[in-house]
Amino acid sequence: MSQENQLTEKESLELITRMINKAKDACHDTGITAIMWGLVIVICSLVRFAELQFEFRLPFDIYMLTYVAVIPQIYFSIREKKRRKVRTYDDRFQDGLWLAFGISIALLIFIVGRLYREWDPVNDQFETLTGTAGFKLYEYIAAFFLMLYAIPTFVTGMTMKFKPMFWGGLLCWICCIASLFLPVKTDMLLIALSAAGAWLIPGIIMERDYQRAKKHLANTDV
């Protein structure tokens, strides 16, 4: 492109539109992270469901997989940052939103662990003394996680105008309400369903769009 070319008014407007579209096309996110986290949560929840359903126990807590998944997450983030030649206004917002979500989930795990430690002895004593069933704290834990899953997913769907995530976020909230009325075993299926609807499927769609945009950009010239 040469700067010497004098443009007509119509050509100017066309050039502006073309360049804005080019910038927009270059800002497609990869769906790798969403696919990875979607898969991890689906696997963890289904394995936990199988443990409860078929009454067996793995020698380790399957949810430890979520800690392991942090390693590829760091790798993907660094790779993405290095590859990124352009930064949009949405990028910073999205980074902050998902970081806040990660911190909140870590805090919730810590709070739940603490609650169990404090609550279980009190509950046991209550059951021994009264002979009646105590308050089953574990029945309500899934609802908190599902409520949190929905927030960044829904906000991302809204702000990025990405419908699969918008509906995924809503699905998490619906599953959150349903989990309050269903047994813990079913909660595990609801978590798997939510993770698939909120991250796995939107991630696959996002990755497909990204690959298409990459191919399209490689074939176009100014």
Partner: protein, 94 residues
């Protein structure tokens, strides 16, 4: 009455650069080069002109031991771009 179009913006490459930058927060020199398909020398000259006009900010830094140039549209640049588009529309009778 028709208003004069900003001569700084009314050139193909400079307008292309401004149109790319208006859509993003910041972009690397290599991104602008890739999208405009301009030569590095020509693009550098035009970026310098936009910088001199106060339309963009240019940040030079190092990334992984390699020099990196980042361009960002300034407030003055946004105003000039908006005015340019408004004037264009007047010409086109939109």
């Amino acid at each position: 009455m028709f208003k004069d179009l900003d001569p700084i913006l009314h050139s193909q490459l400079r307008l292309a650069v401004m149109s790319l930058l208006i859509s993003v927060q910041e972009a690397e020199f290599t991104f602008l080069k890739e999208k405009t398909n301009a030569t590095a020398g020509n693009l550098s000259v035009q970026i310098q002109k936009l910088k001199d006009a106060g339309y963009i900010d240019v940040i030079k830094q190092f990334k992984d031991n390699y020099p990196q140039t980042i361009c960002r549209i300034s407030k003055k640049g946004i105003e000039a771009f908006e005015k340019y588009v408004t004037n264009l529309k007047t010409y086109l009778g939109q």
